[in-house]
Symmetry: C2
Subunit: 667 residues, 2 copies
């Protein structure tokens, strides 16, 4: 067992039994049991011994943590358990205003409660739905609009299911009423009626449904036939993959890292080294929030924190060969718990495979036509998360030249609202996507937590701007006005910085203690940050105050154990951020220290009709590249691209090949 | 023969013979013979008849144009020839200050002249090179620093070739002297001595070379062995490609377009339609310029216009199966001329192939786990250009959902300068990349010319900003401060606009005459522009004045025949731009007109040591996507991703497969 290994089912069982024994006679619901991050200063000697091939010291204590929900008082508890000593390390009741995350069983249970509630049933009856047409509901995180609200609330958006097909697109047919339930008492708090015109006004009474055609995506429900002209494209690695595996340890093309998994962040990468040198200690998406730009009640509360409110790990798709993944694939499994504290096996939640991404480098000596061409083989570690209507595909992409990329692809179904079918109705914050249905503008705001280890665990964050040369400052004449230089700003103190396109700003994480012999500067990685729009909601809004990580593209903090999540540990119905902004505000010295780099980036998503009923991927990527970490291109030793290996084919020869293959089959 | 077909060898021969006959007794050097773009208003009826399946009208006249260089007066001539009537349409002598582009034969010829010139030979001798070590030269576009200079000049950067190997990296060993030749008289104008310290000072005398090791990229010259752990990755399309071909016409997944090729722009796409609807009339990279940030003489003149000064078509690599391209490939050839006006066959200059780019869209109904998953098959049309030291990979990537992307990848070898091997020497505009060698900061500034035809040839350019909702303006209360809307600005008059990250600015090209029934707005495509730094050189510099297209990210002009190149027709030793800035300044009405959209984007490239001796690709991409062009996702009809077709493999089963394959071989 390695300190960075994900939790195992027997550890879940052990932790649950320890907790049950510690809380005798108390009726409990288990929300989370997962691995507690090992204390960094305890784990470093262990992973450094591994890296340098020394005898391993004693591993740090194996800890788990748990969130529990008391069914009597409805208070949330947090416990930390030492799995080695089988002891409870800490157990505390959380303040009353804190709502733990939603769990899978809770959501499914509440869906049933909502749909069976007599007042909801009565409301559905008013729709006078035809035979075979039913109603379903997507429970939604309640969001926040009241400091004083202490109940655990869930908002249920209701949809008409036009046909009994498992993929019928109910998002095309949203209802104009939305029950709110107390998740603890299971009581109906009220039914919110949804505005369907330009203003906040709502209908007095739910009206009978006027049947319209849903915009379907399921192939069986399409009215037009599928394309028939897409030919198979097969990716094969007949000699196996270029990576080797040892449990969760992956070695590939000078890279070495560990694949982690937890209920909250899903995929985590640990202890990345390149050519035996430290590069990153830990990488994971720390938080994301999706606020909606519709000003009308109750939509102002639509703001999901998909990491903190729910958890990317428990929303991970269980992937299947040939459907989600193409090529030569390795899968990793994970475990979550059920509400009884029992392990639930999540099969194939992470996939690992190689891909070809065109040319990595090429040069032809034009004098003689002699060329060096190397292809860009990449390693992809990926998870796909379904968060109700939306899907996110998160991938780490490693390359052979020491670069790695965090890629986010958004797909799935837009969140929709009902609208009047009135001539000339235009909601300037929403795009109509079908009859009586519109998709409001929204933003996806991500925060990537980067715990660097550039040739060691003490690093410095800087940014470099490209600016015209100042002849006086640099002591060089510039008679033709062409000179430009890089101006470096060191982040000495914990805080923040912003992207700047006009200045060509590049962020770097460097190790001041190690000077590159060629560049004569500290070894570093640069971060190609995403320059993106900030949250559009007012700074006084709950949306902004709960997610203050949105305020700056880059935050730098001094490392402390337990500071992992940009909006804080508890985001569900949170009032304010308790995350990175508060840690950065400590103003710690972060020059040549154990620093953490947090990158916020966003997608302002004003939907297209083409994004419905299911959305072609929208892609964002953060790229990390060595800059003076090596003395030269570290991929010079990748063999040339060769037809003997690549076995490419000419279109003109296909007919012949097919013919030959057929003859071969006959033999 | 189609109006958009590239020039054919018999057309070159015909044009050359017509020109020779028209200019009897004049000693000529042929620089260019290529297709003259057909007059747009003549070609539209033809392509519209094609698109709608009507009888074809008479095609527009097939025209060629030529640049010629008089060897007596050294004046440049431009001729237009009607290939149908075999007549010269126009023939004019260009003003004395205009220098035609460089041609391949001219450059190679001048290299020999330079290296044999007694004064250059004498200078080389001063290096006292050991046996087996030689010198080569890269002729460079001279750039501009003098309005009065009318000679055709070439600057020769000199390099030491340390070993007689066809891929020895001479860029690692730059010399500190640089001859300037008159390309017409072949006379040595002077030898520029290069500064090697911080200032403009140069050595009095060329010194004997102090041998240092070159940083090599050729595998045979590396001192370390190649990686042995990269396993084959094979992409196959056993049933052939999903595209069909008819000459230069390509049909693929609802797309239909023509592949064009010319000496200057290389790859051009014409007449792109999707599902039978017009999308773009013509797409090509119109210009690029690479100014260097080194203020010292003569480096201030380092500013190449790789399209206008040389031509991407004539620098295109002749690609080979399995080396440059992976998978199932179709190649297109091209033709250039030699200095005698004879056709030269350029084999495999454009490649066409499909690739898999992960998932295109996915949604899982979490209630039952039923998923729709469609993979993102793409079609790539690509060329690779070698411009002396650098390589550019340009590709158009089409997708199944109506999107297309223009991708630029920069690779090759950095342009280098000699530096003193002095302790503490730091050039703030340059990165040391080896002993005695440094790579100056520079910018790659591209301009993409987009001639749109969104559902017709009259279009309007707009941009949309996402801004907080103004309750008064929109007549809606926003009590929680969360509302935001899109604010549209129409470009009524020819001119320019800039990207704006803070406002989430999105550019759109729309057809005001056609309203989307779902979105209730004009059909449109959006352009995901690259937000990038402008040229850093002073606006008074020749660099900036010659390339005024750099000043704005977007230019919009009213279409006129012949306006194709962002910096003007003649860029070699140009003094000022004669391009898009001058056309935009006409202030034409561009609302619902035949408009052209020009996008300038840039890469500020402050080299990393890792970019040497050959650079891992740096990637930029401009993405075009339908926005309310369709009523819903146009890729809904792509069949689901299926293992039966994809034939993916599990890593765990590989050993077994390999074993079986071996047994099969024995049989």
């Amino acid at each position: 067992m390695h300190p960075f290994d994900p939790i195992r089912p027997e550890e879940i069982t052990l932790a649950a039994s320890i907790l049950k024994a510690s809380l005798p006679g108390i009726s409990l619901r288990f929300k989370v049991i997962d691995i507690q991050e090992p204390v960094k200063q305890h784990v470093i000697p262990y992973i450094e011994a591994e890296r340098t091939g020394q005898p391993l010291p004693k591993p740090p204590a194996r800890l788990a943590y748990s969130y529990l929900h008391r069914l009597d008082t409805h208070a949330f508890l947090k416990a930390v358990i030492n799995l080695d000593t089988k002891a409870v390390v800490s157990l505390k009741e959380l303040p009353k205003h804190i709502q733990g995350p939603v769990d899978v069983d809770e959501m499914i249970g509440l869906e049933i409660v909502c749909l069976k509630h007599p007042k909801v049933v009565a409301e559905i009856e008013k729709l006078q739905l035809p035979e075979g047409v039913t109603v379903c509901t997507d429970p939604w995180i309640y969001g926040t609009d009241d400091e004083a609200e202490h109940r655990r609330l869930v908002q249920f958006y209701m949809f008409i299911v036009p046909v009994a097909h498992p993929q019928s697109n109910h998002y095309s047919l949203p209802c104009a009423f939305s029950p709110v339930l107390d998740a603890n008492s299971k009581e109906l708090v009220r039914i919110d009626y949804l505005p369907t015109g330009r203003g906040h006004e709502v209908s007095a009474e739910t009206q009978p449904w006027k049947p319209v055609k849903a915009v379907e995506y399921a192939h069986e429900l399409l009215e037009t036939p599928l394309r028939t002209d897409l030919k198979p494209l097969v990716v094969q690695q007949p000699e196996g993959p270029s990576f080797s595996l040892d449990g969760h340890l992956v070695k590939w093309q000078k890279w070495r890292f560990r694949v982690g998994f937890n209920y909250r962040e899903g995929l985590v990468l640990y202890n990345l080294t390149f050519d035996g040198r430290n590069v990153f200690y830990r990488l994971a998406l720390s938080e994301m929030t999706v606020p909606y730009g519709d000003p009308r009640r109750p939509y102002h509360r639509k703001q999901a924190f998909d990491v903190g409110d729910v958890g990317l790990g428990i929303t991970c798709n269980q992937l299947s060969l040939g459907c989600d993944c193409l090529g030569h694939i390795k899968y990793f499994d994970g475990f979550r718990i059920d509400s009884e504290g029992r392990p639930v096996h999540l099969k194939n939640v992470i996939c690992l495979h190689e891909q070809d991404a065109g040319i990595l480098h090429k040069h032809t000596n034009y004098r003689n036509g002699e060329a060096t061409v190397v292809r860009n083989r990449q390693l992809v570690v990926q998870m796909i998360c379904t968060v109700s209507n939306y899907e996110y595909i998160f991938a780490w992409v490693l390359d052979q030249a020491g670069g790695l990329e965090f890629e986010v692809r958004a797909t799935g179904v837009l969140s929709t609202i009902p609208i009047d079918d009135a001539e000339g109705l235009d909601l300037p914050w929403s795009t109509p996507v079908g009859p009586g249905v519109s998709a409001p503008y929204h933003q996806h705001i991500f925060n990537l937590r980067v715990d660097p280890a550039i040739d060691g665990f003490n690093n410095t964050v800087t940014y470099e701007d490209s600016v015209p040369l100042d002849p006086e400052e640099h002591g060089v004449e510039d008679p033709y006005g062409v000179g430009y230089v890089a101006r470096t700003t060191v982040l000495d103190t914990a805080g923040f910085a912003d992207t700047n396109v006009e200045l060509g700003r590049v962020f770097k994480i460097r190790n001041d203690g190690i000077i590159n012999a060629v560049s004569r500067k500290p070894v570093a990685y640069k971060v190609q940050t995403v320059a993106s729009q900030r949250m559009l909601m007012s700074s006084r809004s709950f949306n902004a105050r709960r997610a203050r990580f949105h305020e700056h593209a880059v935050w730098v903090t001094r490392y402390r154990d337990g500071e992992l999540f940009a909006a804080g540990e508890f985001t569900n119905q949170s009032r304010v951020s308790t995350g990175v902004d508060t840690w950065a505000a400590r103003g710690d010295d972060v020059r040549n220290q154990d620093v953490v780099f947090w990158h916020t980036f966003a997608l302002t998503h004003n939907p297209r009709p083409e994004d419905f009923p299911v959305m072609p991927v929208e892609r964002l990527s953060v790229h990390f590249k060595p800059v003076g970490f090596h003395e030269k291109n570290p991929a010079l030793d990748v063999p040339n691209s060769q037809q003997g290996v690549n076995k490419s084919t000419l279109v003109e020869e296909v007919a012949k090949e097919i013919k030959e293959a057929k003859e071969c089959c006959k033999l």
